[in-house]
């Protein structure tokens, strides 16, 4: 029986320059942040990243890892604009494919279903369909003969997601109240790598009671690393909430090259355990209070 346990660095070693990689979560929820930081301190380059963006994109933009970003937004909810993303975007630092939030799902779904595109009205009348990737239309073969936008399949080389529990075979649980879109991300990807708050036995997953939290089947999971607080400073509710204080420190780091360099030294270019200590330690993270949405 396959033992898929890996370390963070093992996962990064599976990735290659130029790959198209999907990042799970949404804005400030269950982002694979430890993986984003591990990529930031690796030699990887020229990545095409696809995600509902949060500080994962800010970190990877600030560290020059992005060749192309496929996105609908980069935001931290309570802090609407990410200054690292803005700075890189305004400098023309990477190529862009800007999608409607629904297009994003359709592109992954088409890849997952092994069809070339999905058809939709969404995009008609907007500037989004002036982008070459979204510029193709298709005519309905039925009586309506309606002209629709063809959203191309976007297959991923790898998907990176953060979960709450996993066994060593990659049977996972995401316990947060919203499963988000990690499932279609994994289904659109050749291989999915998972970080988990806790690695447990299959029995401890209590799958009979928790099956609704089992968002993907283990056949999709190529590797799993136990990384407690691997979503920090985003939330992995119910285990911990967003760290607004740290997100402010993160934003402040965009105000000068010196502060960015200091931020990288303290929080990015360090092993994950050192990061957890640097942001206040295990007890401080567990004590974070849920902010209002």
């Amino acid at each position: 029986m396959a033992d898929k346990r890996m370390t963070l660095d093992d996962i990064v070693d599976q990735l290659e320059d130029g790959m198209t990689i999907g990042l799970g979560g949404w804005a400030t929820r269950r982002k694979p942040m430890a993986l984003a930081r591990a990529i930031a301190r690796s030699k990887l380059k020229d990545l095409t990243l696809m995600t509902y963006g949060g500080p994962d994109i800010g970190i990877l933009a600030a560290t020059g890892k992005i060749k192309k970003l496929i996105f609908s937004f980069v935001s931290m909810d309570q802090i609407p604009l990410d200054p690292h993303f803005r700075a890189a975007r305004q400098a023309g630092g990477f190529d862009i494919l800007e999608l409607d939030e629904g297009h994003y799902q359709m592109a992954l779904m088409a890849a997952a279903m092994q069809v070339p595109f999905m058809a939709t009205r969404i995009g008609l009348g907007t500037d989004l369909i002036k982008q070459p990737e979204l510029s193709k239309t298709v005519t309905s073969p039925f009586e309506d003969a309606e002209t629709l936008v063809a959203v191309p399949a976007i297959p991923l080389d790898a998907a990176l997601i953060h979960v709450h529990r996993s066994d060593e075979r990659g049977n996972v649980l995401t316990l947060s109240p919203d499963p988000l879109f990690d499932e279609i991300l994994a289904r659109a990807a050749k291989r999915t790598f998972v970080t988990t708050e806790k690695l447990v036995t299959t029995a401890e997953l209590d799958m009979r009671a928790n099956s609704r939290f089992n968002i993907i089947d283990r056949a999709l999971v190529a590797g799993v690393a136990e990384v407690p607080f691997g979503a920090h400073p985003t939330s992995a509710e119910p285990d911990y909430h967003i760290d607004m204080e740290h997100l402010k420190t993160y934003c402040d780091a965009a105000t000068s090259p010196e502060l960015l360099s200091e931020y990288r030294q303290r929080f990015v270019d360090v092993p994950h355990e050192t990061y957890v200590a640097a942001v206040g330690g295990v007890d401080a993270i567990r004590a974070l209070r849920k902010p209002a949405y």
Partner: protein, 259 residues
């Protein structure tokens, strides 16, 4: 009775959901969120409103409040938000950065899309929302920078601009709701769906609205004054927004009655 400009705008905004029936009402940002709550409290008790995360709450939940203290009546993870919005059973109120005479809006970039002068959020769900269901709009600063001449810098949501559609016609699925600003209330009821002023806030003239708009506006011939919030509406706002976040949404929290 005294009331603030923000409260006047909330009362006007609440009317947008009054006749919607049992659909999802989403007010994005504090003023629209309070307005959806007022609509649910007073005019459309069947409206479904969320905690901004992934639950429907029985009572409307105002900005800055934790859903922990509220009864949850349903689950609405993002996937369900999308399936709901695609079906059309939702009415959102949003606050774009720019809008043009066609009702096209922008929240993505100012300047060139490849190398913008200002990168903002990204198009988010604006294209799909406007394609699939009714949207109303709120602007707390009615200026020519918000209501721009020509077209918005990056068209995120479709509008009544025939030249942008494959067959040169505005599709019949498109509809746009009202626009609530700090000066007036507008809709798209003018000739060829032109933007039209339908009421002026107390003390505001049509000329002032026109002077602060980058394109020509249509108008009702006899323009009424936007109705003052009722006692019941003010009481609902106080209940939904006990932290008085509405007082912080417009600079210096001006009175709703100029003078």
């Amino acid at each position: 009775m005294s009331y603030s400009l923000a409260e006047l705008m909330i009362a006007a905004a609440a009317q947008c959901w009054a006749d919607d029936g049992e659909i999802m009402g989403t007010g994005i940002g504090p003023l629209p969120r309070i307005a959806a709550g007022v609509a649910k409290s007073l005019y459309n008790p069947d409206l479904m409103t969320t905690d901004g995360e992934c639950f429907y709450t029985t009572e409307p939940l105002g900005p800055g409040l934790s859903s922990v203290d509220f009864e949850i009546e349903g689950w609405v993870p993002y996937q369900r938000v999308f399936t709901t919005l695609w079906s059309g059973k939702r009415h959102a109120m949003v606050a774009p950065v720019q809008m043009d005479r066609f009702g096209q809006t922008n929240i993505s970039v100012i300047g060139d899309h490849k190398k913008p002068k200002s990168a903002m959020l990204g198009a988010r769900g604006f294209p799909g929302n406007t394609t699939c269901h009714l949207n109303s709009f709120i602007f707390t600063n009615h200026t020519k920078r918000a209501f721009v001449a020509g077209e918005v810098d990056y068209v995120c949501s479709p509008g009544f601009n025939p030249s942008r559609y494959p067959d040169g016609k505005v599709p019949n699925w498109l509809d746009l709701g009202r626009i609530i600003t700090n000066l007036c209330v507008m809709d798209f009821g003018g000739p060829d769906r032109a933007m039209r002023v339908i009421s002026l806030h107390p003390g505001v003239t049509f000329e002032e609205v026109q002077d602060n708009t980058g394109f020509e506006l249509a108008r009702l011939e006899n323009l009424p004054v936007t109705p003052a919030p009722t006692e019941a509406e003010l009481a609902a706002m106080a209940k939904i927004d006990p932290k008085n976040i509405r007082a912080k949404m417009i600079k210096d929290n001006p009175s709703g009655i100029r003078g």
